[in-house]
Amino acid sequence: MPAHTAPVITARHLTKAYGRGVAARTVLDGVDLDIEASMLTAIIGPSGSGKSTLLFCLSGLESSSGGEVDLLGADPARARPGRMARLYRERVGFVFQEYNLIPYLSARRNAALPGLLAHRPDAVSRADSALSELGLSEHASTRASRLSGGQQQRTALARVLAGRPEVVFADEPTGALDTAASAVVMGGLRARADEGAAVVLVTHDLDAAALADRVVLLRDGRIQGVHGRSSAPELAGLLEGEDAGAQR
């Protein structure tokens, strides 16, 4: 495991509830978490445990109901939208399960988007080299809507590689992919972490989580445990153990 550095993301007493009054449903219940640079942190847990909600609250794409988040020195709840936009195009990257590319833009322009929005002169050349690294050179001029699922996800990853963000949030990035495409995407995320980025991965895929330096186990909106690098069977055992514990 890489040496510990100062956390780039911290969450204290983070809560998130949907609805109000008797209909209120607590999804995150007092989460305390530190995410360090140069680490791939996987968040796993059963369906409905609040994994994706935690990722979105940490990233500022969803507002929390209580507690505090510090993302690269900014509090997403209080920061002005312009500051958060700058943070997203310069220092934070996202990979989603649904790809979320702009369908009418080419793979090249999708990959270069944060750089283009930041008026970076080398945005397109960086996007081209990232696409080439992921084997998408010949599809660089193809519209995103014409790419296959795996190609779209690799384009989304190329956006992250081209922007070289300090923090990467990945929400089920292999959820809709086959084994080969999953391996490419996870390899890219692992490489970003090795280059110094803090990568936060939410996944159901235990093989993907096994590539993480640290695994956070979430259940009913609470952190049940934080584990070091573990194999897929060990993680399965942890999940089953938690299930058994919950049933007892």
Binding site: P81, L87, R89, N100, Y104, L105, L113, L117, H119, R159
Partner: protein, 461 residues
């Protein structure tokens, strides 16, 4: 099975508010015109007395409402067709499920057409109720605008006018809904159920052929009418000019998905602005051709008719002046007609854009996650509005040229001093109003999308 499909088609149609709104507004406007025509005719002694005292013909005022009703019919067809088409696109996944369950396309087309007619009938009934309540005062207002001396004379809504107001929208919907219904039945089932967008270019060949055929028909009509133009006296040339204007708009409507992206692409290449926002807005407008094309054509109907009518009037005025007349043409009634048509077109255009708000919300959320600043989001929406305004004005200018050119040609053939006079001030005002409508219809939803949760907006479905 057909009963189940029909029930499904009629139940819970959130997208049908737009055609219903356009149908009810059409009904109200036609109703007002019919009330004006039937209440201001030779049987109204009070109005006839005023007309006689002013030295005017007995049908001087009543004919305005009738002309307006007739002119509005093709405009209602085009606007209703574009809005219905957008509403049908919004409900594609429902039809896709029925296709997967084995429903034949002909049955789906029939039910979609029935749906458009029923929605229009509902709008027509609402419009007729509105006419019963407001038809009298608003027709009186129309009369006052045409002839200020008619102020204060009440016009009563005739039952025939109310009936006309109720039946005009469903009857026009039968024509307007045909193409959207046929297109709606040819749904790519698997792709639609998965929520995947249709690849651009899938039907571009067929669209190109339809646009080409439409342009050929327009060219043939222009050659025929320009070679032997109708005589100016008696208003035949004016009628033919107006016909050419309507034909131009119909061709633009049929070829909207091909022509509008071409114009937008040309304008964005003519004005290359550095930065990410301008090309993004241009690409967005081109990619959303089904929305931007319908919006542009709906708005161009209003500005094109304004350009055609005022252009023909200005050219006729210029010919009269060249012959020694010093009389200024009073275009007040023309402006009233264009204002009424323009209102219908603006509502239609705004409805089409409103129906695509869901897609835009998702796109804005994706761009926010990629780091697009709120000012850039608003800027992209504003640039798209300006590009669509430019496209709308290109079509309007073509419409104006077709009709105004015919008057010039007719005058030249008759040996009169002919000079093409384009109504630049009116077109400039129309362009400004179009830009205002599009800015409001694009920037306000973008602003609302900025306030929404990114996660909620990105959620599938």
């Amino acid at each position: 099975m057909s009963g189940a499909i029909l029930r499904s088609v009629l139940a819970g149609r959130a997208a049908w508010w737009a055609p219903a709104l356009v149908a009810s507004l059409s009904s109200l406007l036609v109703g007002i015109c019919l009330v004006q025509t039937l209440g201001t005719d030779a049987t109204n002694p009070e109005i006839q007395a005023v007309l006689r005292s002013e030295g005017l013909e007995t049908d001087h005022v009543a004919s305005v409402g009738l002309s307006l009703s007739v002119m509005m019919l093709p405009i209602i067809v085009i606007v209703l067709a574009t809005v219905s088409s957008a509403a049908i696109t919004a409900t594609t996944p429902d039809r896709a499920r029925w296709r997967l369950a084995g429903a034949p396309p002909s049955m789906l087309a029939l039910f979609v057409l029935l749906e458009i007619v029923l929605v229009s009938l509902a709008g027509g009934v609402l419009g007729a109720l509105g006419t019963a309540l407001l038809g009298g005062p608003l027709s009186g207002l129309l009369n006052r605008l045409i002839l200020p001396e008619l102020a204060g004379i009440e016009v009563q809504p005739a039952p025939l006018a109310l009936l006309g107001a109720a039946v005009v929208p469903p009857l026009t919907a039968l024509v307007a809904g045909l193409l959207p219904a046929l297109r709606g039945a040819r749904v790519p089932a698997i792709r639609a159920v998965r929520g995947e967008s249709e690849p651009s270019g899938r039907h571009s060949g067929r669209r190109g052929v339809i646009t080409g055929l439409g342009l050929c028909a327009l060219c043939a009509a222009v050659v025929l009418t320009y070679r032997r133009p109708p005589v100016l006296d008696g208003g035949q040339a004016l009628t033919a000019g107006l016909g050419l204007a309507v034909l131009t708009l119909v061709v633009a409507g049929l070829g909207a998905r091909t022509l509008v992206p071409l114009i937008v692409r040309a304008v964005s290449r003519l004005l290359p602005v550095p930065g990410a926002v301008w090309p993004l807005a241009g690409d967005g407008a081109v990619a959303r051709a089904h929305v931007s094309g319908a919006t542009v054509v709906a708005l161009a109907c209003g500005t094109g008719i304004l350009g055609a009518l005022t252009g023909m009037a200005r050219t006729s005025e210029a010919i009269s002046r060249a012959l020694g007349s010093h009389e200024d043409y009073n275009l007040l009634d023309t402006y009233v007609i264009c204002g009424v048509i323009g209102l219908l077109c603006a509502v239609g255009g705004a409805c089409v854009l409103a129906l695509s708000a869901g897609d835009r919300r998702r796109e804005v959320a994706t761009l926010r996650a990629a780091g697009m600043a709120p000012s850039q989001v608003r800027g992209a929406a504003a640039v798209e509005a300006l590009l669509l305004t430019a496209a709308s004005m290109v079509i309007s200018l073509a419409t104006t040229l077709m009709s105004t050119g015919l008057i010039t040609r007719a005058a030249a053939v008759e040996g009169l001093p002919a000079r093409l006079t384009l109504p630049w001030p009116e077109l400039a005002v129309a362009g400004a109003l179009t830009a205002a409508v599009l800015l409001a219809a694009l920037v306000l939803p973008a602003q609302r999308a900025l306030g929404a949760s990114v996660r909620g907006s990105l959620a599938p479905g």
